[in-house]
């Protein structure tokens, strides 16, 4: 590795790392503390950096007056199904883009890149009309189909990076042994690709979980709302109930944070191999 570290250098380094860690974690700490205060204590001076009385009132309100459990379930179903479907479909396209040369390949990659530049608002109106024709407005299946399409381009590029890191010889050997290309992909390549597939799935899941504008447009009845749509409903009223909002934020952030912590190494690998080579 690079030379020796001086004591002063180490001091600067760890100070910087410490300050950055504080800056990263503090907002999350603060929203959690707020959510655990009794509603009246949130608006009281001096601000309490540690709740004097812990209270779950903000949380119980979410499941009593609001129907946050339903929103969480909807988000969970939509994100899991869409994330898994998009990963499976992207696997096939990523495999082709990594292993074959053909004339339309760069056009396809360009088409994937262009999807990243399109503001989703340009498509909302026509998408709503399309979903009306398909009778899929305010329907979880409808949102899932749209999310699958949203996830595919980036997921394909990401998985393509993974495929390119695996030597061709692996599936060639399997095909010489008599497996079809499809069978070689499933029986030989996929087990090797597992970290990449997990990373891609988590990435898709988090993207769907966090998506706001499409779900606001397509899901209007209360029983079909996803979490971001519900949060958007909380702020469109002029006075924000910061207690409920903090509790809702914590409940929304926690699942994805667990997933990211669990798979952060895979995600780092996936992002870098995908994006750098894309």
């Amino acid at each position: 590795m690079i030379g020796k570290e001086s004591t002063a250098g180490r001091a600067v380094k760890f100070t910087f790392l410490g300050v950055w860690l504080l800056f990263t974690v503090f907002p999350l700490y603060w929203i959690t503390v707020t959510s655990l205060k009794a509603p009246g204590d949130i608006f009281r001076f001096p601000l309490a950096y540690w709740p004097e009385r812990f209270s779950l009132e903000n949380y119980s309100g979410l499941f009593g007056t609001a129907d946050f459990g339903t929103y969480l379930t909807n988000s969970l179903i939509v994100s899991t199904v869409a994330g898994a479907t998009a990963t499976a479909i992207s696997m096939l396209s990523a495999y082709v883009l990594a292993r074959f040369e053909f004339r339309t390949k760069s056009a396809l990659l360009m088409a994937a890149l262009v999807t990243q530049m399109i503001p989703s608002f340009i498509a909302l109106g026509p998408l709503y009309l399309l979903m009306t024709d398909l009778r899929l407005v305010d329907n979880r299946l409808g949102l899932i189909l749209v999310y699958v399409a949203v996830c595919i381009p980036f997921c394909t590029v990401m998985l393509r990076g993974f495929f390119e890191n695996i030597p061709d010889a692996l599936e060639e050997a399997a095909m010489i042994d008599g497996l079809s290309r499809f069978a070689a992909l499933f029986r030989v390549l996929l087990p090797v690709m597992r970290p990449g597939i997990i990373a891609a799935f988590i990435f898709n899941f988090v993207n769907c979980w966090n998506e706001l504008f499409l779900s606001v447009t397509l899901m209007n009845s209360d029983s079909n709302k996803t979490v971001p749509t519900a949060l958007n409903g909380f702020i469109s009223s002029f006075n924000i109930d910061w207690g409920s909002m903090s509790a809702a934020a914590v409940l929304t952030i926690l699942p994805t944070m667990f997933l990211f912590a669990f798979a952060s190494r895979h995600i780092v690998q996936g992002l870098t191999s995908g994006a750098v080579k894309g």
């Binding site: 910087f16 040369e101 503001p119 498509a123 399409a149 061709d168």
Partner: protein
């Protein structure tokens, strides 16, 4: 599966590295057979992805794009006639347009530069192993798991003028005497949304740069040390040139994403106060909400056009990398 097709597949398998091997070769019967077969395989594997993206992304975008050339207002649905470039002229004629454009520039550069610098520093310092490095990385990764909209709400609470913790901390530190109404004042509101976006985006740079750093061979540093190169020289003459293409790619990809990222501002200020934190894409939301789909679409097409210019740089940077490294 027949013996012929097996050997045929085998011959074409190493597709990478030999561009279009079939062209220029005499098309014998057998070769054509598996070429068709190969084409069918490609089509079959690409089909699901292509169908999804075509139906649910490209079709609505193209349908939305043509609204840009029509009078398409929710307030007046009886008249959706073609109006040529009127919507585009309206976009540019809007008195708020220069503010919105200027804000977009501040938003992109004010986010990118600190994200890059801090992310680079983090990556350099995370390169060497230390105790709890894995835990540290996992912790600073968290912002990336949160939606931009929710980050907006989170920082809206932190910067709350009455009960926000930012004012409280600054007062405790003796830096300000009176609470600041951060999100009510145009200048401080922009600073606040930028801080939120930096909080969110540094991780991405740190990860990308860290991965790139790990690809630099140690021998380069050893050689530099033997030549007596100092830290600064090593950084500028080895580290940065070696990862230059990754840096360029990351910056360009982020420019695309940040430019086209209304969620955070939407959640934090909604573009206020008095339009002073609107960027092009939140402005597009506002116009949509006012029901003028034609003008919003015109704005959307302008966004795509502007970002395509960046994509050209993006692709040039990629090409350069392949030439240098392999």
């Amino acid at each position: 599966m027949s013996v012929t097709s097996k050997t045929a597949t085998k011959t074409t398998a190493p597709g990478r590295g030999d561009p279009t091997p079939e062209r220029g070769l005499p098309h014998g019967g057998r070769r054509r057979e598996f070429t068709t077969r190969r084409g069918l395989q490609i089509a079959a594997f690409m089909a699901p992805a292509a169908v999804f993206v075509a139906v649910f992304t490209y079709y609505p975008v193209i349908a939305g794009g043509q609204m840009a050339f029509r009078n398409w207002k929710l307030t007046d649905l009886t008249d959706t006639s073609w109006v040529g470039l009127k919507n585009f002229r309206d976009v540019f004629a809007d008195p708020a347009w220069s503010t919105v454009l200027g804000n977009s520039a501040i938003w992109v550069f004010g986010s990118i530069v600190p994200q890059l610098v801090i992310g680079f520093a983090l990556a350099l310092w995370l390169r060497r192993r230390f105790r709890f490095r894995g835990l540290y990385q996992a912790l600073i990764f968290f912002p990336w798991a949160i939606s931009g909209f929710l980050i907006g709400i989170l920082f809206r609470w932190l910067f709350n003028s009455e009960f926000g913790v930012v004012n409280d901390l600054l007062q405790k530190a003796g830096l300000i005497d009176e609470p600041i109404a951060w999100l009510a004042d145009p200048k401080t509101a922009m600073v606040a949304v930028l801080i939120a976006n930096i909080w969110y985006g540094v991780t991405f740079f740190a990860i990308m740069i860290l991965a790139a750093l790990q690809s630099i061979p140690d021998e380069l540093y050893e050689a530099a040390a033997l030549d007596g190169a100092g830290k600064a020289r090593t950084l500028f003459q080895i580290t940065i040139p070696y990862i230059r293409t990754t840096l360029a790619l990351t910056v360009l990809l982020r420019v695309i994403w940040i430019f086209n990222f209304p969620d955070l501002i939407f959640g934090m200020t909604g573009g206020g106060p008095n339009n002073e934190t609107h960027i092009v894409t939140t402005w597009m939301i506002k116009i949509t909400q006012q029901g003028d789909y034609g003008r919003a679409s015109a704005l959307g097409l302008l966004v795509v056009a502007a970002l395509l210019v960046f994509a050209v740089f993006f692709l040039m940077a990629t090409r350069e990398k392949k030439g240098v490294r392999s």
